[in-house]
């Protein structure tokens, strides 16, 4: 009885995503908007980035590699928002590594898998998560997708215990040398055809751990990655958006 009354108190909580847009905090740093204009102090802005995500194009315009970006907002502070501004847009995932590099032009977000792969995975995607040097922030916000608010299961996506039961790997962390073998073995244990998803700056590029002797530079160093979900860590809605884009289940509303 107590359990039943608690159930009533706790209410129905699943958010009607993707039909409703998620509500993100005021100070949330989502997709950076790069101005694309020539800037006088571009060198100084580039130098301020802790991960080297910024570079200057031919036209002294800024470029931002979201694969390296940890969304710390330091560049925005230095340029007072004239070159780079962080928007509250949560959709960030791409299929190709180069699409993560932002210029003044519009970003190309992740396209769905081809028709055959969608037939295989579209209604049931089982993933094995491997943390390979992740700091437990990406892991925690992936775990959250299983909670009532996000309810990942309703999209046919499930995290499974064994790689043998999985359709692919979802990798976090820069891939430490001490996890390389375990990651390779886990990948080998997944039956084909299989997909690889890299979540977070570390898994995409090594993030702030890039070029350490102790780590590789992300999952792409040893495996072909099919979906990149940037962030440090990416917001759960960003991760869910990426997964749904991959499966082509976002519909036309987005």
């Amino acid at each position: 009885m107590r359990i039943l009354t608690a159930r009533m108190r706790q209410k129905y909580r699943t958010y009607d995503y993707p039909r409703q847009k998620p509500v993100l905090p005021e100070r949330f740093r989502g997709r950076p908007v790069v101005d694309g204009q020539s800037l006088k102090n571009s060198e100084q802005i580039v130098q301020s980035c802790p991960t080297g995500a910024l570079s200057v194009g031919n036209d002294r315009d800024l470029r931002l590699d979201m694969g390296l970006c940890i969304f710390c907002g330091q560049c925005e502070k230095i340029c007072s928002g004239t070159g780079i501004k962080f928007s509250r847009e949560h959709a960030l995932a791409t299929r190709r590594r180069e699409d993560l590099v932002l210029t003044g032009k519009e970003q190309k977000l992740a396209e769905a898998l081809d028709k055959k792969a969608r037939q295989l995975f579209g209604h049931s995607l089982k993933l094995r998560q491997v943390s390979a040097g992740g700091c437990n922030a990406c892991e925690a916000d992936i775990n959250v997708l299983n909670t009532l608010l996000y309810d990942l299961g309703r999209f046919g996506i499930q995290f499974v215990a064994s790689p043998r039961h999985a359709d692919g790997l979802l990798i976090t962390g820069p891939v430490t040398k001490n996890m390389e073998l375990a990651l390779r073995k886990t990948y080998a244990a997944v039956p084909g055809p299989k997909i690889v998803i890299a979540v977070g700056a570390c898994a995409i590029s090594g993030g702030i751990y890039a070029n350490h002797d102790e780590t590789l530079n992300g999952a792409g160093s040893i495996l072909k990655v099919d979906l990149f979900i940037p962030g440090c860590p990416p917001h759960p809605w960003t991760i869910l958006d990426g997964l749904l884009r991959l499966l082509g289940s976002l519909g036309h509303s987005h």
Partner: protein, 507 residues
Amino acid sequence: MNANTFLPIVHGETVPRKNIPRPAMPDFRAAVIEAVQRGNRIVSFFGHPTDNNQVELIIVLANDAYGSLETSATLVTDSYPALTPDCPQAHWFEREIAEQWAITPAGHPWLKPIRFHAPYPAGRKTCFSSGGNPAGPGIADYFRVEGEEVHEVAVGPVHAGIIEPGHFRFQCHGENVFYLEIELGCQHRGIERHLRKGPDKKTIHYIETAAGDSTIAHAMAFCHNTEALSSARITARAKVLRGIALELERLANHTGDLGALAGDIGFLPTASYCGRIRGDWLNMTALLCGNRFGRGLIRPGGTAYDLDETGIKELAGRLDTAERDTTNAVELLWQTGSVMARFEETGRLGAETAGALGLVGPAVRACGITRDVRQDFPSGIFRYAQIPVSTWQSGDVFARAFVRWLEIQRSIAFIREQLKMPGGGETHGKIDRLEPDAMTVSLVEGWRGEICHVALTDSNGHFEHYKIVDPSFHNWFGLAMAMRGQQISDFPLCNKSFNLSYCGHDL
């Protein structure tokens, strides 16, 4: 004992490095063992190289009852008589020193790598018996129990859930666990090595991701050190905001842990509710700074963000709602017989063992030991607003769960109180150049327990060495001890009741 073996340190202040006593190894060893027997405990013990090819070992001891810290150092060349046989708390520290600097603690009962990396000094050979480069986690010799009916179970590094990697080796007789050896290191990213010569633009990000679920606590420990080294003062308002952020981090993780404990025994109501409510706490942190884990909030000199009147009202409102939801979800646990039957008597750890191993955090408080940095070594807002220490006596899974619940209630009360008088002043400030040739120690009670950062600066005011001790570094061995004589099927439950950090240990 020579009274000059130790130098007292005031928490939050610097000491000139030249004042640190450097007794010869025999005196150092005897004094440390004696001090630990008198009730002190090791909060940090590490090596760093000196100019003349030696390694200076520095130890920091804490006395919780007196709230006092003291330090001592000694020089070693290749080998020294290990402290561990007479002082179990030194076990993990000495293995770390052996691995980082290739210094042999002679007579160490279980000398193995803890992180599986090459020694820091280039070209130096490891001091481990296997020789050459260590093979890696999961490929090593393990403690074995011989016997026809004894079998071995290997788990990990890749586990069944969405969780970090580590390797567990059980020696079992049927369901019964004789011995568990925990082997970590999979997550080693080389943070400490890369903190040397800092601080630079990457430093704070290494600190914030040392253990990503303890971003606030680690960032606070780092800021306390840099602020002490630059004699910076921070405003009351920044102190309050830091305190609120630290307690929100505790609330999110404790709530999540209680939900996960319920999940591990198949009690779905609390598991589902707490999983969701944990997100509510994280979103309150995001209200402060835009990030659910508090990235970018705590910065040397204060906090990067302030909270205006509307924000305070919003936070206070959400606090009330989350409190009601959490109370409702968590109290189901204590009212349900099947839950209590699984929690009670499972994974019991005695106060004597917990004390001897120097455990910290909810794990030690669940054994009835009153140990909490917020009370014993308060800094920032905790100097003015005390949070009562939550303890329980039974040392089992129930105690570790119940201590979390007590702490949840007290953290909520603390935040509510602070929001009423958030103090004044600018929240962000700048820090100057760091004091050269100095040492400072910072302790912060993260949600897992005591986080200790020690900074040593060189003659230019850069970090000559920066040592991080995550609470997990103390506590993993506690989990191994709690598993002795337990059913192996209870491992997930026991493991979750400690919920230790892999990356915080492996750094």
